[in-house]
């Protein structure tokens, strides 16, 4: 409001004393919208050159041959789709992402409720303890898990043996390897759900539960009829967000199995890394990671809708 007054008064001065070109430039630079745009400029530059440009460049790159000398259209995509290994990668990525997100959400929901049940002063301590997996850089905790799964020294196998069971080839048996990478992902991601749910649980008005208690509702009824509806939006956002991150996960598989045994644990990201960086076929690698795009795009749009809705509900 004050701004328009300012512009108006300087405009009066300008009309009386014929503004020079530098004067005009100064006026332009002092305008509110110009200042605002200039403040955004560094961000726009970063996003344009390091996100949008690479994204489109990736599409172009994926249509070149290995030496990047010839345009081959959709040849790389056709080649990938015709390969059994790639189909297995698609399947494994879906198994990996869906099952990991499901168990993360479940464990997060359970632990959030358990912590919420505690007396207020104990909650902080438990919350602090259960968030530790999220705080350790994933690459480093994956290394720790790898050591726990080590074929000759596995500490889990030590327990199994002392209980009279057979040893398990955690990372050498393809199916156990699939289980192991999912387990590590659940371990890493569940605390994120915990913290999101706990924040959402705190925002549910206490009166609703009191009213339900008076009406004689059981704990389960309260959960189904109060907690879930109140938290539906935040649960949806968290699940979709986690789906994106899990879908695009790289660290765990790369460190623990590098895609093996028999390419059974590869996900899109590690397969793209193997083709693009390790084997030096950048176009084929770019094509592989582009296969992630449709599902990520859908999830992103749904998240955006959820966040906007939530923004309206709050404010």
């Amino acid at each position: 409001m004050a701004d328009t007054v300012q512009v108006w008064s300087t405009g009066l001065q300008a009309s009386s004393a014929q503004p020079s070109a530098t004067e005009k430039l100064r006026l332009f630079l002092r305008r509110r919208s110009t200042v605002a745009f200039l403040m955004c400029l560094p961000l726009i530059v970063i996003i344009t050159f390091l996100v949008i440009y690479p994204a489109f460049y990736s599409i172009y790159l994926s249509m070149l041959n290995k030496t990047q000398t010839r345009f081959i259209g959709l040849g790389n995509f056709q080649f990938l789709l015709s390969r059994d290994v790639f189909r297995m990668v698609v399947e494994q990525t879906a198994i990996f992402a869906l099952s990991a997100v499901f168990f993360k959400a479940l464990i997060g929901l359970i632990t959030a409720h358990l912590i919420n049940n505690l007396p207020a002063k104990g909650q902080r301590k438990w919350r602090g303890m259960l968030l530790v997996p999220w705080v350790i850089p994933l690459a480093l905790s994956s290394l720790g898990w790898w050591w726990l799964f080590d074929p000759t020294h596995s500490a889990f196998n030590y327990i199994l043996e002392s209980l009279g069971f057979n040893q398990i080839g955690w990372l050498s048996n393809p199916y156990w390897a699939r289980f192991s990478v999912i387990l590590v992902n659940v371990w890493y991601g569940a605390p994120f759900f915990l913290i999101m749910y706990l924040a959402a649980l705190k925002s549910v008005p206490e009166q609703l539960y009191e009213a339900a208690s008076i009406d004689g509702a059981s704990a389960w009824q309260k959960f189904v009829h109060i907690t879930l509806p109140m938290m539906r939006n935040i649960i949806a956002i968290t699940v979709l967000f986690s789906l994106i991150v899990t879908f695009a996960n790289f660290d765990i598989v790369q460190i623990m199995t590098a895609g093996g045994p028999r390419n059974m644990t590869h996900v899109f990201a590690t397969y793209a890394f193997m083709l693009g960086i390790r084997s030096g076929d950048l176009p084929l690698g770019a094509a592989t990671s582009l296969f992630m795009f449709p599902i990520l795009g859908v999830a992103a749009i749904l998240i955006l809708r959820g966040v906007r809705k939530r923004g309206r509900e709050i404010g």
Partner: protein
Amino acid sequence: MSTAAVTAPVRQSISIGSSLRRNRRWALITSYIFLVIFAVFFLIPPYYMVVTALKSDAEVARMATNPWIIADGVTLDQFKILLTQTDFLVFFKNTIIVTVCVVAITMVVSVLAAFSLGRMKFWGSSILATGIFLTYLVPDTLLFIPLFQIVKSVGLLNSYWGMVLVYPTLTVPFCTWIMIGYFQSIPKELDEAALIDGAGHMQMLTKIFIPVALPGIIAAMIFAFTVSWAAFVYPMAFLYSADQQVLTVGTVTSLIRGDVYKWGMLMAGALVAAAPPLVIYAFLMDYYIAGLTSGATKG
């Protein structure tokens, strides 16, 4: 509940009260039991990493003894080997340089942008804000191959300065997004008062918005720090010599020599590398959690 107690016969109300209390106590006990189970699951890897790092090589290699406890006594040999005989300190130095630069760049870029987008609308600003949020959802594994070409073309392949160039794509969108939320929550009257007093936009930002939104700025800084400290895909793809390597990739790849895995030393390295984020988390947990949750709760 109190009205029910008044109307109901006295004896019945007492029995309901005590059974409620007993139910609550049982709920509490089962909560604790399950929380302990989950805590064990969550803390097994860090515990085992600490135990391994404090063992001697001989004990780590021995198969017969219980691996979960330290039988031969605690030793700091693994940390000594790590710091004197490996490139670990080089990785540490590189990571600190990269992280400090990235946090500084991120904060300048995102605070300016968030102030402008949250407070001073201009043509296309709401589309830009939405775009920023969508950028945040673009994972690094979608972009590392085209970025490989870009980093190569500007001559920063195998240089940690290349990381300073590309990490802001991971940090800036989210930090801007949560700062927009914080800035928008500041009452409008504050900046009108400042404008009447003759403050410019920059003064308004540095004298009012940054001090008032300091909790948000700290949360954003912690986020930028943890992300650039833990980044793995980009250094894995763009860095290959030890003198340029950062901690995450250096610990996972360079410390492993040949077929013999020195697990004691590896675990010591992983622990030291994970220590800075853990220390920050321990001291600034509330800011850390605020940064984590505000992405979805502030719209």
